[in-house]
Amino acid sequence: MKSHNLITMDDVSVDDIDTILETAHSFKEVNERAIKKLPTLRGFTVINVFLEPSTRTRTSFEIAGKRLGADVINFSASSSATEKGESLADTAATLDAMACDIAIVRSKFSGAPAILARRMNAHIINGGDGMHQHPTQTLLDLFTLKEHLGKIKGKRVGIVGDISHSRVAGSLAPGLKMMGAEPIFIAPPTFLPAVPEVLGAEVSYSLDEVINDLDVVYLLRIQGERADGTAVPSMREYSALYGMNRARMDRLPEHAIVMHPGPMNRGIEISADVADDPRSVVLDQVSAGVAIRMAIMYLMMGGDQNGAAA
C-alpha cells in the first residue's frame, strides 16, 4: 500500500483498492470456514482507540484482528484518561510507549487520526473521524457493490441523506469517483456541504427525479436532532421526500441494490420492508466489513495478496 496509514481515501491508490478488494475476497472465504482463525498476525498488537461510542465498527475491527491472530486491545473513552482531561496527543504518546503495531481511531472530531499519526509509530487506521472520512466503510462498500453488480466502474450511486455531517459520504464519494463510478448526492440543500463538487459528486434535490437511473441507492442514517426543524422540518417530511419505501423500490431498476452503513432507522430513511428486501444488501456490508478490515491490516503489516488465505 502506498501509505503507512489509512486516514483518508487519498492514502490509497486505485491499485491499492483493487488489491484490498481481492485480498478481502479470500478472507471472506476464511470467514465462512468452521475454524476462522489464521496465525498471520500472531505477535502483533492492534489497539482500538474509540473516543466516541461505537459498537459495530469497533466489534468489526476486533473480530478482524482476532481472526488474524493479533492481540486486540480496546481503549474506549469511558474507561480512559481522556475522561480525566488527558489530551489526545498525550494519549497517543502513551499508547506509542506501549508499542502497538496498528491503532484504529474513532473520534467525533475531524482530523483526530492526524494527531495519532504524528505521535505514534504504529500504522493508523481511521475508524471514522467527525464529519470527515470513514475509509474502511468505503472499502467495504466498494467490495459489496462489486460483489453484487460485478464491477464498480460506470455505476451510478445515489447517496441519500445528511451528506454534510456524514463521514461515510465524505469517503464514499471520492472512493467511488476514483473507481470510475458516478456518485450523486441526493439531499435538500440544508443537508449538503458548502462545495459538494470537492467530494466529486453531482447533486440532486429530488430522489424521485433520479431514482430510475440508479444502480445503487445508498441511504445514510438520519440523526434525530437534525430533523427537528434545524435542517429539515421533521422526520415525517424527510421520510416522505427522501425515504426509501416500497413505491420507490418499484421504480428502482431491477438489478439495483439498496445499501446502508447501519444502524438503520426503520421507518425514517428506510421502510421495514425495504430493509428486509432481497435487494437490500445491508448484512452483506457487515460481513464484508470483517473481511475488508482483515485485508487492510494484513496488507499494512506486509502481507501480499497471494498469501491471504494460507
Binding site: 486516514i7 483518508t8 487519498d10 489530551s87 489526545l88 496527543a89 473520534s107 472530531f109 475531524s110 482530523g111 483526530a112 492526524a114 494527531i115 504524528r118 473521524d129 467527525g130 464529519m131 470527515h132 472520512q133 463521514r167 465524505g170 456541504p193 458548502a194 462545495v195 459538494p196 470537492v198 467530494l199
Partner: protein, 430 residues
C-alpha cells in the same frame, strides 16, 4: 543627552520626506533634520543603509495579563512588540478578570509603567464581563486612562445593547472597536465555509457571518453618530460594505491582520495544523486579493496583528478544540516587508501609513512624523536583513505562529521611544 543618527533614508509619506539625511534627537523629540549634522555632546550612530520611519503601532494585541500569564504577560508581550519593531501596542480587554472597570484599567496601566518595554494603551470592555448584556462603566474607565472600548474576542450579539453602547460612547466621544461576528450564522464553526470545510469535514463559518454583523454596526453607527473601528476584517464582502459606508460618510475605519493578507484556507491540509486556526478563519484567495487592494486604496486604515499567544497544550489538540489565533507581533513587519512590499503588491509608503499613521488617527494618539518637533517614536528598518521565525527567534512567551520556521527578508533592527533606544541592533534594550 542628544542622539545623532547619520546617513539613513528618512521616509514618511505624511511628512512628505524621502531622502538620505541625518537626524538629531534631543529632549525626546526630533530636533533637526539635515545633511552633515554634528552634535557637541551625546552619541552619534551611523545607520547608513537603513530606513527611519514613524514608529509602528499595533492597535490589536492580546497580552493575556492578568489571568493568563502562562501565555503572555505585559512584560513578555511588550518585549515581543519591541522586538518586532513596534513602539506602541493596544491591549484588548478579554483578560481574567475582564478589564471592565476603572480600577482594572488603572491596575494595568500602573503595572505597564514598571513592566512594559514599549508604550501600552489599554482597551476597556463594552459590556460588563464581555457578556453582551449590560454596559460596562465606560466613563469610569475613560477617566482611568482607557484608550477606547472593545468586547474583542466575542461580538456583541444583541442589537439593542450595541445601539445603547454606541449612543453612550458617542456622548463620551470615544471610538468603539468592534469584533463583528454573527454567532447564529457561525455557531462555533472554526474554518471558512467553502472548499476547505468540505474537504476537511468541518462545520463552516460563512463569510456572511462577518459582513452581516459589520453591516449592522455600520447602520447603528450611522444612526448614533458613534465612531466605530472594525477589527480584523477578512472577507471581500466586508471590504465592500465598509467601502460603501465610507463613501456615504459614516465614521468607520477598519483593520486587517498580516495572516489574512498572506494566508488562505488552502493552507489548511489534512494535517489539520491548528496553528492555522484563527477567528475570523483564513478565507479564500479572492478575499485575500480584495484585502490587499483595500489596503492600498485606503478602505483599510490599519494593519493590526491580533497577536494571540497560546501555550503549546492549547494548540496541540483536535482542530475543533484548539485555541484560536496566532502570535503576530514579531513576524508582522518582516512578513509584510518580504511578501507584500518586496513583491510590489503594496508600497513601503502604504505600509507606513497603515502601521504608523492609521492606528494613531483611529485612536487619536499624538501624530508622529519624520519632521522637526515630532516626538521621537521611531522604527528603523533594514530591508536586507533576513530573519527566520524558529523557536529561538520569539521573545514573547508563546510561539504559536502560523509562520513558524519560515523566513523573511527585511525587519526592524531598531526602535526608539521618546528618543530612547528600545531596540538596538535587534536586542531589546529598554
Amino acid at each position: 543627552m542628544a542622539l545623532l543618527l547619520k546617513g539613513a533614508r528618512l521616509l514618511d509619506p505624511q511628512s512628505k520626506i524621502d531622502q538620505s539625511a541625518d537626524i538629531i534627537i534631543k529632549g525626546g523629540r526630533i530636533e533637526k533634520i539635515g545633511k552633515r549634522l554634528k552634535i557637541d555632546k551625546g552619541d552619534t550612530v551611523d545607520i547608513k543603509g537603513k530606513i527611519v520611519v514613524p514608529g509602528f503601532v499595533d492597535m490589536h494585541v492580546h497580552l493575556r495579563d492578568p489571568g493568563y500569564e502562562y501565555k503572555e504577560t505585559i512584560e513578555s508581550g511588550t518585549r515581543a512588540a519591541v522586538h518586532g519593531g513596534f513602539t506602541t501596542v493596544c491591549a484588548m480587554a478579554n483578560t481574567d478578570p475582564v478589564i471592565d472597570t476603572g480600577a482594572a484599567v488603572e491596575s494595568v496601566l500602573g503595572r505597564a509603567e514598571e513592566e512594559a518595554h514599549c508604550l501600552l494603551f489599554q482597551y476597556g470592555a463594552i459590556s460588563r464581563g464581555q457578556k453582551g448584556k449590560h454596559l460596562a462603566e465606560m466613563a469610569d474607565m475613560l477617566a482611568a486612562g482607557a484608550i477606547a472600548f472593545s468586547d474583542d474576542g466575542v461580538g456583541v450579539q444583541n442589537d439593542k445593547l450595541m445601539r445603547t453602547a454606541m449612543e453612550y460612547a458617542s456622548m463620551l466621544d470615544v471610538p468603539l472597536v468592534l469584533h463583528c461576528e454573527d454567532e447564529s450564522l457561525i455557531g462555533g464553526a472554526c474554518i471558512n465555509e467553502g472548499i476547505a470545510s468540505t474537504r476537511l469535514g468541518m462545520k463552516g463559518s460563512p463569510a456572511l457571518g462577518e459582513s452581516l454583523a459589520v453591516a449592522r454596526d455600520i447602520a447603528l453607527a450611522s444612526l448614533t453618530g458613534c465612531q466605530i473601528h472594525i477589527c480584523h476584517i477578512s472577507t471581500k464582502e466586508t471590504v465592500e460594505v465598509i467601502r460603501q459606508a465610507k463613501a456615504e460618510g459614516v465614521d468607520v475605519t477598519c483593520e486587517v491582520t498580516p495572516h489574512h493578507l498572506l494566508l488562505t484556507e488552502d493552507a489548511i491540509d489534512s494535517t489539520y495544523d491548528t496553528l492555522l486556526k484563527m477567528n475570523p478563519p483564513l478565507r479564500t484567495e479572492d478575499d485575500r486579493l480584495a484585502l490587499i487592494e483595500a489596503l492600498s486604496d485606503g478602505t483599510i486604515d490599519c494593519i493590526a496583528t491580533d497577536h494571540a499567544p497560546h501555550a503549546p497544550h492549547e494548540k496541540d489538540r483536535e482542530f475543533d478544540l484548539a485555541a484560536y489565533g496566532t502570535v503576530g507581533l514579531e513576524t508582522a513587519v518582516p512578513l509584510l516587508l518580504d511578501r507584500l512590499v518586496a513583491s510590489g503588491e503594496i508600497s513601503l509608503e502604504t505600509l507606513i501609513e497603515r502601521l504608523a499613521h492609521g492606528p494613531r488617527e483611529v485612536l487619536r494618539l499624538d501624530h508622529i512624523g519624520i519632521e522637526e518637533g515630532s516626538i521621537a517614536d521611531l522604527t528603523v528598518l533594514d530591508l536586507k536583513e533576513k530573519v527566520t521565525f524558529d523557536l529561538n527567534y520569539f521573545q514573547g512567551r508563546s510561539k504559536n505562529s502560523a509562520f513558524l520556521d519560515q523566513s523573511a527578508k527585511g525587519c526592524a533592527t531598531d526602535v526608539l521611544i521618546g528618543g530612547y533606544w528600545a531596540l538596538r541592533d535587534k536586542e531589546v534594550t529598554w
